[in-house]
């Protein structure tokens, strides 16, 4: 079931209610896309990414109601710790680190301006790169994140509102995933395939795309 954010739509910032709805909806999105992600992972990895993301965000959805009235830092940190303890594999520490780092940019906040939101995403991605040491073109979730953040910054600098920026970011995520298709994996389990990893989209980049698309829907389809 998808929750819809009901309230005053103010496109100058992302509200806490939208963030909570986003993270809660991710649970359903990853359930719906479980088999698709697992198929992608079966091609170049170990066929478990869909199940792992479903389990992780299931835990997030279960834990969020208890902290939904706290600040955004608490919400992001709870999300990160839930993913860290439930996902496993490489994506657990990576997505976990992502949200825990994003939390450091949202202490005491009830909403984020577009610039603040992008800053939080940037902190999250920097954390992921710090742990996983991914470089551009390594065929990882970061190849999607970098496209998303670049699009967000461009939108922010050209005066787009939150809705417009997120639409650009969701489009960029799709492009980010497409760009991973011709890449040869240099990180993670797919790297063992060498050239045989070429021709497949990266499962981690794909789950990142789903995450941003879900936020885009929450903000723009309210």
């Amino acid at each position: 079931m998808l929750l819809h954010y009901v309230g005053v739509v103010n496109m100058s910032e992302i509200t806490k209610a939208q963030i909570v709805t986003w993270l809660t909806n991710c649970s359903g999105i990853y359930s719906e896309n479980r088999d698709m992600l697992t198929e992608l992972d079966a091609a170049i990895g170990d066929a478990d990414h869909g199940l792992n993301m479903e389990r992780g965000f299931g835990e997030v959805a279960a834990k969020l109601p208890a902290v939904a009235d706290k600040d955004l830092a608490t919400i992001f940190k709870t999300t990160g710790m839930s993913l860290l303890s439930k996902v496993g594999g490489a994506s657990g520490p990576l997505y976990g680190t992502f949200f825990i780092r994003a939390a450091t940019k949202s202490a005491g906040k009830e909403s984020l301006t577009l610039a603040e939101f992008i800053e939080a995403l940037q902190a999250g991605v920097d954390g992921v790169v710090g742990r996983g040491k991914a470089n551009p073109g390594d065929k990882t979730m970061c190849d999607a994140w970098w496209e998303i953040i670049t699009a967000g910054k461009t939108a922010s600098e050209t005066g787009a509102n939150v809705g417009g920026a997120l639409t650009s970011m969701a489009d960029a995520a799709v492009k980010g995933v497409e760009k991973t298709i011709p890449m040869q994996a240099k990180k993670g389990r797919a790297s063992y395939l060498g050239e045989r990893s070429i021709g497949h989209p990266d499962p981690g980049a794909t789950s990142t795309k789903l995450m941003i698309e879900t936020l885009n829907k929450v903000v723009n389809e309210a």
Binding site: G45, D46, S85, G88, S91, G92, P93
Partner: protein, 354 residues
């Protein structure tokens, strides 16, 4: 696809429940998930962990003379940091906790976080990365060599050292040395079926094998034509014995300063006359009759090449669910290694001398 399971979600928990019921010396903690045995006071505790699906690795090797505890993850998925940390806190840890980590991106990331967290709890902690799969040629363009069946040999030998009262630094150095002396290579005749996926990860024609596979149902480094077991075994031994010195940067935990130290390590060369411990390991779907058939060729070729087969293990020890195929692991052994190998071990899936 028929599988002897109830639901995909409960594959690991039901399997662990059965293992513990069958082996009352093992204790199970379910939140978070780990298995341990208590009779390990006064010695360094050895903890292993990794994705499930490699049984009997790791929980089958918990017992006197081998592991203190194991943290099973979901099928082919690393356990989580909180799981490994809580395990390290719950078992006897006054002499320290040493984690064995197979070299996979997920395992490394989760164990690194666990080591950092356990250190913050004031517990002496260390970790050893195992990366013995010579099918992976380089570490520059990949996540490095995978940790596979040498894990069994290393856990046994270091387990004996811990049982004999060696401290954490000694056990850590020994494990590192053993890892640099171990080489593995695997082939698959068919893919395994990951329960969550429900179908084989890849399809091979009747005359094809995946050459250089890991233990997660992933395809190998290349697809080759299969003729017979002697030919394949010879090809695998060529890869194992031709393997050049392999250097890579590995992290070790600085217990004094609470930080990671990166060191470049190199594998050791083999020379004629070396004593070898040989493991011919089934990947889960291969009958023992075929494994011994393969071992026959391994033994003869190694002796013909001038090596001494000092000890042998043949069977399913580090599997990939129901994958058909096998791996060969060689470990260069000195007198201490052989003495520790021969020491008593009393684990559900490895037992001798007791």
């Amino acid at each position: 696809m028929k599988k002897l399971i109830n639901t995909v979600e409960n594959v690991v928990t039901e399997q662990v429940e059965g293992l513990v019921l069958a082996n009352p010396a093992l204790k199970l903690v379910t939140d978070p998930y780990f298995i341990y045995h208590e009779k390990s006071q006064g010695k360094v505790s050895l903890v292993s962990g990794g994705g499930s699906g490699h049984e009997p690795l790791h929980a089958g090797f918990i017992g006197k003379g081998m592991l203190t505890a194991a943290c099973p993850g979901a099928v082919f998925t690393s356990p989580t940091p909180d799981q490994m940390m809580e395990c390290g806190k719950a078992i006897p840890n006054e002499e320290g906790v040493l984690y064995f980590v197979k070299n996979y991106t997920g395992d490394i990331l989760n164990f690194e976080m666990a080591v950092e967290m356990l250190h913050m709890e004031g517990i002496k902690v260390g970790s050893v990365v195992i990366d013995d799969d010579v099918a992976v040629k380089d570490s520059l363009y990949t996540a490095g060599r995978r940790g596979v069946a040498a894990t069994v040999l290393i856990e046994k030998i270091v387990g004996a050292a811990a049982e004999a009262g060696k401290d954490i630094s000694y056990c850590e150095a020994l494990a590192t040395r053993l890892n640099n002396r171990a080489r593995s290579f695997g082939v698959a005749l068919s893919a395994c079926i990951v329960p969550a996926n429900g179908k084989p990860s890849f399809i091979l024609a009747d005359d094809e094998i995946e050459f250089g596979v890991g233990i997660h149902g992933e395809p190998g480094i290349e697809r080759r034509t299969f003729k017979d077991v002697d030919t394949t075994t010879t090809e695998m031994l060529e890869e194992l014995l031709a393997s050049d010195t392999y250097s890579r940067t590995l992290k070790t935990w600085d217990r004094e300063n609470g930080d990671w130290i990166e060191t470049v390590q190199s594998t050791e060369a083999y020379e004629k006359g070396d004593d070898l411990i040989v493991l011919v390991n089934g990947l889960g779907g291969t009958p023992e009759s075929e494994l011994f058939g393969a071992y026959r060729k391994v033994h003869k070729e190694l002796e013909a090449a001038g090596y001494t087969v000092a000890r042998t293990l043949v069977g399913n020890y580090c599997t990939s669910l129901n994958m058909e195929g096998f791996s060969i692991t060689l470990m260069k052994a000195d007198a201490e290694t052989l003495e520790l190998w021969d020491a008593p071990v009393d684990a559900p899936s490895l037992r001798w001398g007791c």
